[in-house]
């Protein structure tokens, strides 16, 4: 670290929020994905003007800056791949205001999304984006990754709810985008550009999100299928019958087996797949809707259909789904979690391709995901110390992405690009598509200060390297 720069940093930020000891630096060298990169300094800013000054300083001394939320990124988003300065945003969390009249919330970037959920629900409102990490991840991280979860099917992703931002630009200016109105068509939609930009175009310092009235009730069903294709048909017929469930989740046979051996809960180990369907809304309407969903599952060949009658039955159905992640990590220490997404009509085809990839490389590959919106999570369970197998994993991952894109899908449904998917960007966007994005990045950040090494591949990088 440049000593002169360090001296100046100490005039901007109080000492107790600056870390330079080795133990502290290592503590910000990882996220929930891969790789370990040591920053030179970690700073915990608490307001926009501190950040603005830091960014200006970083431009002067050409120090890379890496904003970081709770570090739950699965794509390497906050990793300080080029050293420099990590901005730990978790302590920038003072504001969480619910504006009930205007149906919106104003929050600091370090606020944990789950706290926003709670606060909104306390007054009968609802913030729908619900990544499984919401009790840990920050709203700033959610916005930067454009996160979502099972409810994405009906309620969309984070970007559908962000209507205004305060952002420190890569040159250190503080700007506001959007505002408090749901309708806003003034000029370019910079709000949407920042959402999902993974900390490469600006540091989010305040967020205005839209809230909606909380659905009055919900109903859930579980269906077993002897053939994966049948579950695909069931999903398509539900969606084309004019019912919009709040979630449709799918688990394949490998997943079912994993959950059963981890925590036996009576799942059918010989079923090819199971799906969970949830509807929410007016009690009278959803009673009817869940009945129809059950009927369509049976008509598509479900071997078993169960509609939860009580809240505890409902939670039991969901607990199987929630068990998937822990269950599959029992099968090996390293979990490569992908989130390739295809148009939902292509789910059966994608499942087919994934099966072929599993057989070809003889890997432990399980699939679950948000089938309703085509967002599948193929997970490869392996051991990163097994170099030979990791080489195969690299190839398999590449093929997963190829398959998704060939079927008209995308590299990422919710986890972002980060370091892990950047090599495949050109495959999806084409040369010119990627070039436009690069131009935007260069225009905003001429010194390449903000989160360098993410989204855009390094020169000649063609696939992800794990070993």
């Amino acid at each position: 670290m440049n000593q002169e720069a360090l001296k100046k940093i100490k005039t901007i930020i109080p000492l107790e929020r600056i870390f330079t000891e080795l133990a502290e630096l290592y503590s910000y060298s990882y996220d929930a994905s891969f790789g370990e990169y040591l920053p030179e300094i970690v700073i915990q800013p608490k307001n926009a003007s501190e950040i603005s000054e830091l960014v200006k300083l970083a431009n002067e001394y050409l120090i890379p800056i890496y904003p970081r939320g709770a570090g739950t990124s699965l794509s390497g988003g906050p990793l300080p791949v080029k050293g420099g300065m990590v901005l730990d945003m978790t302590q920038f969390n003072e504001k969480l205001v619910i504006d009930r009249e205007n149906l919106l919330a104003i929050v600091s970037p370090g606020v944990i999304t789950g706290d926003l959920h709670k606060k909104a629900e306390e007054v009968g409102l609802f913030y729908p984006p619900d990544p499984s990490s919401s009790h840990v991840a920050t709203i700033g991280g959610n916005i930067s990754e454009n996160s979502s979860g099972p409810k994405g099917l009906k309620y969309g992703t984070t970007k559908e709810y962000v209507i205004g931002l305060e952002v420190v630009t890569p040159l250190g200016d503080i700007i506001r985008t959007g505002g408090k109105t749901v309708k806003n068509v003034t000029g370019y939609d910079i709000t949407r550009l920042i959402v999902g930009s993974e900390g490469t175009l600006g540091i989010v310092t305040e967020v205005i999100v839209r809230l909606i009235p909380k659905p009055q009730a919900r109903k859930t069903l579980l269906a077993h299928f002897a053939h994966l294709l049948d579950s695909g048909h069931a999903i398509t017929s539900i969606l084309s019958a004019g019912i919009l469930p709040s979630a449709i989740e799918l688990m394949d046979n490998a997943c079912i087996r994993a959950v059963e051996s981890f925590s036996p809960s009576g799942l059918p180990v010989d079923a090819d797949s199971i799906i969970i369907v949830e509807v929410d809304g007016h009690p009278a309407a959803i009673d009817e809707e869940i009945k129809q969903c059950a009927k369509m599952c049976r008509n598509s060949g479900a071997t078993y259909v169960k509609v939860a009658e009580t809240e505890s039955e409902r939670l039991k159905i969901w607990s199987a789904r929630k068990m998937v992640s822990p269950a599959i990590t029992q099968m090996g220490p390293t979990k490569i979690s992908e989130d390739a997404t295809v148009p939902r009509s292509k789910i059966p085809a994608m499942m087919e391709r994934l099966n072929r990839i599993r057989d070809k490389y003889k890997l432990n590959l399980v699939v679950f995901g948000h089938a309703g919106d085509g967002n599948l999570h193929p997970n490869i369970i392996t051991d990163k110390r097994n170099i030979e197998e990791m080489k195969k994993v690299e190839l398999a991952v590449s093929e997963i992405f190829e398959a998704a894109i060939e079927l008209g899908g995308t590299l990422s449904g919710e986890h972002g690009i980060g370091t892990l998917k950047s090599p495949y960007m050109e495959m999806e966007l084409g040369k010119s598509g990627l070039y436009m994005m690069k131009k935007i990045k260069e225009a905003w950040d001429p010194n390449n200060i903000l989160n360098p090494g993410k989204i855009f591949p390094e020169k000649d990088q063609k696939r992800v390297v794990f070993v």
Binding site: E24, S27, H135, T329
Partner: protein
């Protein structure tokens, strides 16, 4: 990883912990439940951060005593993170192994100002029931004779004077030491004899809080337990294991196993969450020991918290109403390690006349953590004061705990809020006994 092969302490740490640290998928699910992460607000004070630092030390990337020690020592060992972890990283075991490595590494380097005092307490005091009793008796005398005011002013240990002075203020009123339980005694059940249990007296419980022990026996016998106090029992070894003296902990465990096995009791009952956790994990402590592993397994299976026995063999013969609001603060080791949290609540709610209120964050550590509050006074008080705000808001007449450390910490918290006139800190056994008319 060249260093690993050079330094035996690092190698040992690697052998013991590396697989565990690799089990961690760094998802961060443990962050929101960690009290030190909340109070200190940085990753190195979180479970995920600590696991990573142990891993880095095992890989030889950082130094055990220079870099890893402090973040590890600032951990309360409350093990709330273990419950939250979706993949079951055995944090508690890793922590003990890390502490072991720190102790060895510091011995190599002979540094650390706390080292001497800790060693003295652990090797010269806790393992010796007579010395502990002597200490208890001295404290009793000392309180009686009002010498305390004088001592409060002397600055014996520069680091410890403040915490010790604060602790001293809140020590419970002691009974005359002649009332202490005698080892080897058998107390017959009152009425029908339903079961024979052996009682673990503990060292702090026996030396300073023996009144709680005495009342425990009375409650147990009143629900039909025949209670034997096994001879030659000793300290549970929890403090030793938590401070990195695993060998000493094993020695103590063996003595206890021997003592209790001879008692021919169906259950081994204790009334201190921290001790109970240690007892219930003797199987793990002696896992590799051919001679002891099996009996240790049986011992652990028979270990029970008093609230479990009182719930199972109750109801208690209440004769008095207890009017007022009470709140319950979980003992982390009772809740997170022994997984006992319903029974104390049920017992409290069963007291006639009582108003039981569930306190927000009751399951979060109060930061007493063995002797954490002595070693890391400021950090501990930050966590405690936050908890006391929750307590004060509910305006209870009593805060109930199930571990001596937590009970003292609650007293200290109440004292710091200047609320001692209105709120009492009580052991679960004490309030149950009051309602049963026992004194």
């Amino acid at each position: 990883m060249k260093k690993t092969s050079l330094n035996p302490v690092v190698k040992n740490l690697h052998d013991k912990t590396y697989n565990w640290t690799n089990q961690c998928v760094q998802c961060g699910y443990c962050l929101p439940v960690c009290p030190t992460y909340e109070s200190m607000g940085k990753e190195s004070a979180s479970p995920r951060g600590r696991i990573n630092l142990v891993k880095m030390a095992a890989e030889g990337k950082i130094d055990i005593s220079e870099h890893m020690a402090e973040p590890i020592e600032l951990c309360l060992g409350c093990r709330a993170c273990e419950i939250a972890c979706p993949v079951g990283v055995p944090y508690g075991h890793m922590l003990e192994a890390a502490k072991d490595a720190i102790a060895q590494s510091k011995q190599q380097k002979r540094e650390n100002s706390h080292f001497l005092l800790k060693n003295m307490a652990m090797n010269q005091l806790f393992p010796y029931p007579n010395r502990m009793k002597f200490l208890g008796s001295t404290v009793w005398l000392y309180k009686k004779s009002k010498l305390d005011r004088l001592i409060r002013k002397t600055k014996l240990f520069p680091i410890l004077s403040e915490p010790l002075a604060q602790m001293e203020k809140i020590l419970p009123p002691l009974e005359n030491p002649s009332k202490r339980l005698k080892h080897g005694t058998v107390f017959p059940a009152k009425g029908e004899r339903k079961v024979r249990v052996a009682f673990f007296t503990g060292c702090i419980m026996d030396s300073i809080m023996y009144k709680v022990n005495r009342l425990s026996i009375e409650l147990l016998t009143s629900v039909g337990c025949e209670v034997v106090i096994p001879n030659h029992q000793t300290c549970c070894g929890a403090l030793h294991a938590h401070q990195g003296a695993t060998e000493k902990a094993k020695e103590l465990a063996k003595a206890n196993i021997q003592s209790f096995t001879q008692s021919e009791a169906e259950f081994y009952v204790n009334n201190a969450g921290g001790c109970g956790a240690a007892l219930s994990e003797y199987d793990y402590l002696l896992k590799g020991d051919e001679e002891w592993a099996e009996t240790a397994g049986e011992f652990a299976k028979k270990s029970r918290d008093i609230s479990q026995i009182l719930t199972e063999y109750g109801p208690l013969p209440f004769i008095k109403e207890w009017k007022g609001i009470v709140v319950y603060q979980d003992s982390c080791h009772l809740r997170n390690v022994q997984k006992v949290y319903q029974e104390p609540r049920q017992l409290l709610q069963s007291i006639p006349g009582i108003t039981y209120v569930e306190m927000e964050g009751a399951n979060r550590c109060c930061a007493s953590g063995g002797i954490y509050n002595l070693l890391h006074f400021q950090e501990s008080m930050k966590i405690l004061d936050k908890k006391m705000k929750e307590v004060i808001e509910l305006q209870p007449k009593a805060v109930i705990t199930t571990n001596p450390g937590c009970q003292l910490q609650m007293s200290l918290g109440i004292d710091r809020m200047e609320a001692s006139e209105n709120i009492r800190s009580m052991h679960l056994v004490e309030i149950l006994a009051e309602a049963c008319g026992l004194t």
